[in-house]
Amino acid sequence: MQDHSIEPDDFEWIVVHHQKRIFRTLLFLVRDADAAETLTQECFLRAFRNRDRFRGESNVATWLVRIAINLAHDHNRNRHWAFWRRLAPTDRIDALKVPSVQPSPEQVLVDTELVNAVRSAVDRLSERQRTVFLLRFIEDMPLEAIAETMELELGTVKTHLHRAVDAVRSACTKGK
C-alpha cells in the first residue's frame, strides 16, 4: 500500500501554496479578519499535527479546507463570538466590503447593489448552506469534492446548494 503521509519538509510548500485559500475560506466563514488570520495559522498547525492521518484519499486542498471549516464551526459556536456578532451583525462584514469596480458610476452602483443583495442573502443562510455556497461559487469546487470536504452525501450537498441559490435568487429579485 502506497504511503501518502506528508513529510515535515513538504509542509513549507503546502503553507505557501494554500494559505491564501485557507485564509479566504476562514474570512468568509467567520467574517472577522483577525480571527481568520489566527485560525489560518491554527489550521496549518493542526494539519501538521495530524499529518499522519492524511492518507491521500483526498487531495491536500480538500483536507485543509475541511480542517478550516471545522475550525470556523468551532469558532462560530463559541458563545463569546456569537455574543459580539449579535451586537454588531453587519459591522463585522466590513472585511468583505465590495471593492471598487472600473465601469461607469451607474454600473458600479447596480453591481454593488446586486453584490450586496447576494451578500445579505448569504449572511442569512444556515452555516452549512453558506459553506456549500462558498465552496461552490467562491472556490469553484465540484459537488463531489464539496461532499467529500464536508463529509456529506452528494444529495445533501445538492439540497443545501439548491436552497442557497433560491435564497440568493430571491434576494436579487427583490433588490431590483
Partner: protein, 140 residues
C-alpha cells in the same frame, strides 16, 4: 429537479447559459465571488509574516521541549529527601522481641531432653507396662 441538476453542473464562473441560473444572477454571483477574493487579498508582507508565524509554530512542535533546570533540581532534591526519610524511618523503628531465637532455644532443650531419655516419648506407656510386669515377676 431538472433545474437543480443544471445549476449544479456549472459554477458561477462558467460561461454557459443553460445552467438554470439567469444571466443576472450569474453576473451577481461572479461579482460577489470577485468581491470576496478581493476582500481576502492582502499585501505580500502579510502572507510572508503569516507564513513565518506558521513555520515558527511548526518548528516549535518539531523540537522537543528543553528540560528546565528548575524541574531537574527539584526532582533531585525530592529524591534526596525521600532517601533521608527512608533511612530515618528505618533507624527509628522500635526493637521487637526476637521470637525466632527463643523458639530455637526451646527446641534445643526439647532435643536434649529427648536424647537423655532411654526410650522415645511415644513408647513411654510400653516402657511403663514393661516395668510393671518386671516388678510383678520379682514379687513372685
Amino acid at each position: 429537479m431538472g433545474e437543480i441538476k443544471e445549476i449544479h453542473r456549472s459554477p458561477a464562473s462558467d460561461g454557459e447559459n443553460a445552467d438554470g441560473i439567469s444571466e443576472d444572477l450569474k453576473e451577481a454571483l461572479r461579482e460577489f465571488r470577485n468581491s470576496v477574493h478581493a476582500a481576502s487579498d492582502r499585501p505580500g508582507l502579510f502572507w510572508k509574516k503569516q507564513h513565518e508565524a506558521i513555520m515558527v509554530g511548526l518548528n516549535d512542535r518539531c523540537t522537543p521541549p528543553k528540560r528546565r533546570p528548575v524541574l531537574l533540581w527539584g526532582s533531585a532534591a525530592l529524591v534526596v529527601l525521600m532517601c533521608c526519610l527512608f533511612f530515618f524511618v528505618q533507624n527509628s523503628k522500635a526493637p521487637t522481641p526476637d521470637l525466632a531465637a527463643g523458639s530455637d532455644q526451646n527446641l534445643l532443650i526439647e532435643v536434649e531432653r529427648a536424647l537423655n531419655q532411654s526410650s522415645p516419648t511415644a513408647l513411654a506407656p510400653a516402657v511403663f507396662l514393661e516395668n510393671e510386669i518386671e516388678q510383678a515377676d520379682k514379687k513372685r
